[in-house]
């Protein structure tokens, strides 16, 4: 295992020290491992928190700031945070207008956030609503599974819901917008290599020199199929076609197109992928209104990429374009 770390047990705590030092407009509650806005909470603004296992940076801590998240809870690497963290974060960001919990659909995340919401209610504190992202078309969405995993759509949702909250919308309205984003977004990913969890010290799975894992999860969960390594063009087809078929997206639809890097893949390859994805969308008559290219929801050092498409209307687009000031996404300010 080759990593720029000290003790594998301290990676999360030390990365939080780095985030705190590098971004003066953010604060860190080290006891609860929460990154939060230095200028919050704002009276009357809905607070938005998210969180999950660490190892997906910049998600979620890198999305804290004006126009996006108010706080992010960092769990151990690939392990959901505990309810105490979400409860503390909920209190930290409560400006009296309620708090939205953005939860990626994993059993642990869902249950821990649920308990936090119950505790908040029991304490008579902030009103909490939760929105669960489950956009990964690689997983069958049925009552026979834990349901689809929350992946790339989470990034887009946090931006768009954050903008809605910044506009002063009510908790219900912000939650509605968030649900709409989740309903209209789909993702799928591919791994060329495994990630290595620091505490484990060895790759999570083995992949041959000529193999790739199609439909991989962001914790190295197995995907749909293991296939021989293919070209960027072929891989783009394998990712985009199931996404397009699933919603379904149709000719004339307008989308935000997000080509994500999983942590170990450099930007030059993501642009090659973007070109191929864009080509396929053009062929289907799907219009790309906005694009995002880069490593925004990662899986430690995994080499690979995921594609997320979000169908947008004018309202979603204007929320996407609204000012945002976070370590990882910033514009308009």
């Amino acid at each position: 295992m080759k990593k720029l770390i000290n003790d594998p047990q301290n990676v999360v705590a030390e990365a939080l020290l780095g985030i705190e030092a590098a971004h003066p407009h953010l604060r860190v509650d080290h006891e609860h491992k929460i990154v939060y806005r230095g200028d919050g909470p704002r009276r009357g603004k809905v607070g938005i928190i998210s969180g999950g296992g660490s190892g997906h940076e910049p998600l979620h801590g890198g999305f804290v700031g004006l126009g996006m998240l108010d706080a992010a809870c960092a769990g151990e690497v690939f392990t959901s945070p505990v309810p105490d963290q979400m409860l503390a974060a909920t209190k930290l960001v409560d400006g009296g207008a309620g708090v939205l919990h953005v939860v990626k659909n994993y059993t642990g995340d869902v249950m821990n956030f649920e308990m936090a919401a119950e505790l908040a209610e029991a304490e008579g504190g902030a009103k909490v609503l939760s929105v669960i992202t489950n956009d990964d078309v690689a997983v069958q969405d049925s009552t026979w599974t834990a349901g689809r995993r929350g992946v790339g759509v989470t990034v887009l949702l946090e931006k768009i819901a954050g903008a809605a909250a910044e506009q002063g919308r009510s908790l219900e309205q912000v939650a509605d917008i968030a649900r709409k984003v989740n309903a209209d977004g789909r993702s799928m990913g591919v791994a060329l290599t495994s990630c290595t969890v620091p505490a484990a010290g060895k790759p999570t799975f083995e992949l041959g020199e000529d193999e790739m894992e199609l439909g991989v999860g962001i914790h190295g969960e197995p995907g749909r199929r293991r296939l021989p390594l293919a070209t960027a063009g072929e891989i783009a087809e394998l990712l985009v076609e199931p996404i397009l078929a699933d919603l379904p997206f149709a000719g004339g639809d307008t989308v935000i197109c997000f080509v994500n890097g999983l942590g170990g893949t450099p930007l030059i390859e993501l642009y090659v992928m973007y070109h191929e994805v864009n080509r396929i969308l053009n062929a289907h008559g799907v219009q790309v209104a906005r694009s995002l290219v880069g490593p925004y929801i990662t899986s430690l050092d995994m080499a690979g990429s995921s594609v997320t498409l979000l169908k947008v209307d004018d309202e979603l687009l204007s929320l996407w374009d609204a000012p945002v000031n976070t370590p990882a996404l910033r514009w308009g300010v």
Partner: protein, 211 residues
């Protein structure tokens, strides 16, 4: 355990469970690596070490205080799926037992049933989903039957352990429908469920060696 169980014995149960988890940490993690994300041993061990520490620090004198402490500690330190599930299990057991310091077999059976209900409320698992349910439900059932039959606590626990271990073993051929393992679909078949394995350790920790 004796025919009524003292708080001291319940405390000992939790400490023994912590020791068994520590001893089986790698095995639990290996089971989870096969069909999950390879952290179940780490998760349970982190939680139970913290729970024992909390018991040392607070020395609760009633059953409810004891299990409350264990449950809250697990919830606050584990995360993942097992934190809320095992945490809820112990919280519900504590609530069911109340401020007593001597617990009868039928109280214990009722309390574990409440814990099982809490797990179902939290995780929506059903029989055959390849989860902790599949080891815990038969164990509870065995305890209740024994209590109804007026069995000795020690015998009842031995029956519960046998049921839990059978339930655990029965998860191997199951196709997972809950938790991370469900992503694997057919490929989850043939692997023993890590959470069910922890449950068998929990019951084992309460069970006296065969007479």
């Amino acid at each position: 355990m004796n025919d009524t169980v003292s708080t001291a014995a319940l405390d000992e149960w939790m400490r023994t469970f912590a020791r068994l988890v520590a001893e089986n940490k790698e095995a639990l993690t290996d089971l989870d690596a096969a069909i999950g994300d390879g952290d179940h041993g780490e998760n349970m061990d982190r939680g139970m070490r913290a729970a024992v520490q909390a018991l040392d620090d607070t020395r609760p004198s009633t059953a409810s205080a004891l299990f409350n402490k264990v449950g809250m500690t697990l919830i606050s330190t584990v995360g993942g799926a097992s934190g809320p599930l095992f945490g809820t299990l112990f919280l519900r057991i504590g609530a069911a037992l109340g401020d007593t310091s001597e617990v009868s077999l039928s109280q214990l059976a009722t309390a574990l049933h409440a814990g099982l209900d809490g797990i179902v409320a939290r995780g929506k698992a059903e029989a055959g989903d390849k989860t902790i349910y599949d080891a815990l439900a038969p164990a509870v059932q065995a305890l209740e039957t024994a209590a109804t039959d007026g069995a000795h606590t020690a015998d009842a626990l031995r029956a519960a352990l046998a049921a839990a271990e059978n339930g655990r073993d029965a998860t191997t051929p199951m196709l997972a429908r809950k938790g991370r393992a469900s992503y694997l679909g057919e490929r989850s078949v043939g692997h023993q469920d890590p959470g069910a394995t922890s449950i068998a350790l929990l019951i084992a920790a309460a069970t006296p060696a065969p007479a």
